[in-house]
């Protein structure tokens, strides 16, 4: 059953056409690798899904309902989460503040004053989430800017997973990570799939993509040109689809060497 469906999405910035009618379908529990050269429009496409950008034309539906008119907050409420390449963390705020940003639980102060953010509950849930991810942070009451890159990544992931997402979009989640941390992100993607959560993974590391996805969609010059079943494809085929066929042998050789 299709969870998210994009039909003929177009987006241009001024005179620059980035997306020329992209079609994409994601079913529940499916892990999709979205690959393509730099400037192919991967991040732009994802931002039209989260609502950060508004598509100029086309239709996006979630469970059959159009979400085109919803703002990013409402789309998050429907269960669309994204982990951004730059992580989008507020570095001077602590872990719980980042995880709950925009969704803080509130209570009454001394039973009278309304609107007090319930920090105790936030801290407790944040700690639970971090523990569930199997991560270790020095203290959840420290500003996240004082953490290492991998630890900050954990906070960004925890933020995407705390509110029962249906679809998690990850934009280059492993680009800045050490080998062991990469493995734990891939593990995480598998366990999300097991829970029936869909994942769209954007990555330049094709080995990771081939290792963890069900399907690979290649975006080339603003169009989703190729759709490959991961089980039945090879590195060579993926690379050839990304670069467009001509320099295939050379590019594939380079990729498997690197």
């Amino acid at each position: 059953m299709s969870l998210l469906k994009l039909t003929n999405i177009r987006k241009s910035f001024g005179a620059v056409d980035v997306l020329h009618g992209v079609n994409l379908e994601v079913t529940a529990g499916e892990v999709i690798g979205l690959v393509g050269d730099n400037g192919a429009g991967k991040s732009t496409l994802m931002k039209t899904i989260t609502g950060m950008y508004t598509a100029d034309d086309g239709e996006i539906t979630m469970n059959g309902q159009s979400i085109m008119d919803l703002d990013p907050g409402k789309r998050r409420a429907l269960g669309i989460e994204m982990i951004y390449q730059d992580l989008a963390l507020a570095k001077q705020q602590d872990v719980a503040s980042n995880i709950f940003l925009g969704r803080e639980p509130v209570k009454k102060f001394l039973g009278v004053l309304p609107g007090m953010v319930d920090k105790r509950t936030m801290d407790k849930k944040a700690q639970e989430m971090i523990d569930r991810l199997g991560a270790h942070l020095p203290s959840i009451n420290r500003p996240v800017g004082s953490f290492s890159g991998g630890q900050q990544q954990t906070v960004a992931i925890a933020r995407a997973l705390t509110f029962d997402p249906k679809l998690v979009i990850m934009d280059e989640p492993t680009a800045a990570l050490a080998v062991r941390e990469v493995q734990s992100v891939l593990e995480l993607i598998r366990s999300l799939k097991a829970e029936g959560i869909s994942v769209i993974l954007i990555s330049h590391r094709l080995n990771d993509v081939l290792g963890v996805t069900d399907r690979i969609v290649v975006l080339r010059q603003g169009v989703a040109t190729t759709n490959l079943e991961t089980k039945q494809t090879t590195m060579t085929e993926v690379v050839s689809a990304i670069v467009g066929g001509n320099d295939m042998a050379e590019a594939a050789a380079h990729e498997s060497a690197g």
């Binding site: 990013p72 409402k74 409420a77 989008a88 507020a90 570095k91 001077q92 705020q93 004053l113 007090m116």
Partner: protein, 336 residues
Amino acid sequence: MTAKPTTARNTSLFGWWRSAQSASQERLQLRLESLVVLIGLCIVMSLLSPFFLSVSNFLNILLATATIGVLAIAATFVISSGGLDLSLGSVMGLSGVVGAYVAVTIGAPAGFGVLGCLVAGSLAGFVNGFLVTRAGVPAFIVTLGMLGLARGLALVISDGRVIYGLPPELIYLGQGRPFGIPMPVIILIVTALVTHYILAFTRFGRYTLAIGDNENAVRTSGINVERHRLILYTLSGGLAGLAGMLFMARINAGDPTAGITYELTAITAAIIGGTNLFGGRGSILGTIIGALIMGVLQNGLNLLAVQSYYQQMAIGAVLILAVFIDQYQFRKEAKV
């Protein structure tokens, strides 16, 4: 708060200080250092001058701090969101003139005079916020322009003259002393408590700090950053209007030249109180302590009959010292 692992260090004096520090930071959003500086300053002043340590002198300090304190609260909101409001002093002057114009020249009831101050300030703030968020002009330029616009408008409305002769109810707001406490001090304390609650404990306050920290992170969370900024600038203007009302009521006149360079003093108080000039961090209690540090310094130096030229130098030095200590602490924390 959260169950932290108790280390052996917590029994030592250093550990005690660290845990007190983090508790006050967690529960009150207040850095203890600034409180220590304030108390230290009070001790030094009371040793140097026999007149310093008395209830009436403390009330004097609070009274002198009231107007600047309210302006500094406004500055804290805007600066901690990564913005800047250079028009605070001018908007304060404009508000006082509008209030006096409504209450004296038009002769409306005193309540409308108060309303006039608040509305004039909020409107100026709204214009600032509108230009910053919708027209995309940098806050520095918009509020610098407003600094001139509001001052000019105050002079136009009052025809360059001071508007004297407020109704007694208005004068009471500036000069009345219920239970012996000056009204401006009461208004400052109430305003500080309410705004501290908002900035430290509500969603609105958290978004304010998060916007100053990483606007994009807030936007991706689905919060309307532009609308939030617009509200912040309007709030800032409204608080400047309140400061204008306090000043007008205290001097029993709408003075178009009131509040010149006050924005700089207000920003100084906010920064001494621990607000990050580039946004992301700030607390109203801290700002009030910052304003009091300046008030105590000024009062003490007055009692010691130090020339006012030196007072300006002292405050400038305190500002630089405060930011130095803050940055030093921050770097040390980031390293751990």
